[in-house]
């Protein structure tokens, strides 16, 4: 068993800020990330940074990573890359898998800064080779320097979709079609993307990028069974936190997009606060950091954070928010929806469970995501539900009228990732 003062999981902007702040406050810090370098989502984005302060603003995101690495080295943070934190147990120990095996880590405090995953919703053809997530497209374009296709369609209408259009065009691809509503998209082709239809337009294309936005990924905190609250803005549950970002489990903090932070600046500011709080920094320092965090947050997000912290209900917002592409996807996927063309589309990519099969499980009485999972195997594949549980919740909501706020996430159990058996066998006691 290894020990550390503060274990920070995830080395994106939130995790790096937490590690730097905790170390600045005198704690021994171990920063763990599954990738080969730190940086999280910064690693593959090229948009100019804003809101991170001196020495970073204005740089393309991927070029800021080196600066952050230098700061971590100077701050004497112990950085473990290629290391997956896959389990958080009752006794507070963390299981970590590395290429060479694995170990258990006992930390006095834990900061979960595991970020988000891309939101994806099923449409006909979404499993064809050539359909990929926004992150996959950015990784190919900027880390591997390969175009995902020459003629590309982009699904989504928010800021992420706009960034993707710029990225694709900057790298020399042609954006042939933009579609805001995934429920209106049909992709077809013989073994790969060849045609995309949306909004009554049909275009030849060789790739389709799904850029619907991001979904928090606080899996380790879910394993620890912390209390959750519903965010109507994101349409999912988030860990409840104190003003110092501590969860209902003492000593366990969640910061950044894993806790629903809206963007980079907020993730960075949250990380800093969680790091200082976990390290027990002086009240003056913490107060100043809280002020900086309040400035980094949009008014809408501030209201949400307060509401989650105080446990007040969000009914009005739940009822009001019926126009998003999420809801319209749910309606289209029901038996009465669109033209039933979604019935044969895979909802769960891994286990190849169709929307029709999930609908049937709901008709036969499934009332929760866990029920659907047990009856159909949807969500039990290698991706561990990250690309399908959102769609399951929307379908439950649309078919049964269960408010999304009452549909709790799947029960999370270790491992958080498929891990090689050696990691279990070789755990050092």
């Amino acid at each position: 068993m290894k020990t550390t003062g503060i274990a920070v999981i995830g080395a994106g902007p939130a995790g790096i800020a937490a590690a730097l702040a905790a170390s600045e406050a005198g704690a021994a810090v171990t920063l763990i990330d599954e990738n080969s370098t730190v940086g999280g989502q910064l690693r593959w984005r090229i948009a100019a940074l804003r809101g991170l302060g001196d020495g970073l603003d204005g740089l393309p995101a991927c070029q800021a990573v080196e600066r952050l690495e230098e700061r971590l080295a100077a701050a004497d943070v112990s950085v473990l890359t290629n290391a997956v934190a896959w389990g958080l147990f009752e006794d507070g120990s963390l299981a970590v898998a590395t290429p060479g095996g694995g170990f258990l880590l006992q930390a006095e405090k834990i900061v979960v800064a595991t970020g988000s995953v891309d939101l994806a919703l099923p449409f006909p053809g979404w499993t064809l080779p050539g359909v990929l997530t926004a992150r996959a497209a950015q990784i190919l374009l900027h880390l591997h320097r390969v175009l995902p296709g020459r003629r590309v369609a982009v699904v989504g209408e928010g800021l992420d979709a706009a960034e993707l259009v710029t990225d694709l065009e900057t790298a020399g691809a042609e954006v042939v079609l933009r579609a805001s509503d995934p429920a209106q998209v049909v992709v077809s082709g013989d073994g790969r993307v060849e045609w995309v239809t949306a909004n009554g337009e049909r275009r030849e294309a060789d790739a389709v990028v799904i850029a619907l936005g991001r979904q928090p990924d606080p899996e380790l905190a879910l394993q620890a069974q912390v209390d959750l609250g519903y965010s109507a803005r994101l349409g999912c549950h988030l860990p409840l936190r104190s003003a110092l970002l501590e969860t209902s489990r003492p000593g366990l903090y969640v910061a950044g997009e894993a806790a629903g932070a809206a963007d980079l600046a907020e993730s960075f500011a949250e990380g800093r606060l969680a790091g200082l709080a976990a390290a027990g920094a002086s009240p003056e320092r913490i107060a100043a950091t809280q002020e900086a965090l309040a400035r980094a947050r949009s008014p809408e997000r501030s209201v949400e954070v307060d509401r989650l912290r105080l446990g007040t209900s969000d009914r009005a917002q739940v009822e009001a928010d019926t126009s998003s592409p999420w809801r319209s996807w749910g309606r289209a996927a029901t038996a009465e929806g669109r033209d039933n063309s979604l019935a044969r589309v895979a909802l769960c990519r891994c286990e190849q469970v169709t929307i029709g099969e999930v609908r049937q499980a709901i008709e036969e009485g499934a009332l929760t995501i866990n029920d659907i999972k047990r009856r159909t195997r949807a969500g039990m594949g290698l991706c561990q539900g990250i690309f399908c549980t959102g769609a399951m919740a929307l379908l439950l909501h649309a078919e049964r009228g269960i408010p999304l706020s009452e549909i709790v996430p799947m029960t999370e159990r270790p491992p958080a990732r498929p891990i090689p058996l050696v990691s279990l066998v070789e755990i050092e006691e």
């Binding site: 390969v146 290698l382 991706c383």
Partner: protein
């Protein structure tokens, strides 16, 4: 905005990029994909080398033969599982190319073929 150039070989690589600059020189690495030789760039992931040459399919799903290719590029979806040097279920989006590597499109759950070489 500067349109990036591509090379004539039908290659999908981004050789010139307005923000990232020119693609640096790299040592070519020869791999074999489904029996055919393929030139990759040192350090890149197997799936990137395949995509650069217009190869999108990494595996077919158990049962229906449905083809799959890179979806998440982060090691999380398992759509890119290939058989590499006899080992099935290798994530082609994460594992780098290596000189002499033997890569096969994986059918279904794949099977062990014993290590080559």
């Amino acid at each position: 905005m500067d349109q990036a150039h591509r090379n004539q070989a039908g290659d999908l690589r981004v050789l010139h990029h307005p923000v990232l600059g020119d693609l640096p020189e790299s040592r070519p690495v020869q791999i074999t994909v489904d029996g055919q030789p393929l030139l990759a760039r040192e350090g890149e992931a197997i799936a990137a080398a395949l995509l650069a040459h217009g190869i999108l399919v990494c595996r077919t799903m158990p049962g229906g033969r449905e083809p799959r290719g890179v979806f998440c590029a982060l090691g999380r979806c398992a759509d890119c599982l290939m058989t590499v040097d006899g080992e099935p279920n290798v994530r082609a989006c994460l594992i780098p190319v290596r000189e002499g590597q033997v890569v096969w499109t994986q059918a279904g759950l794949g099977r062990w073929e014993g290590r080559a070489g």
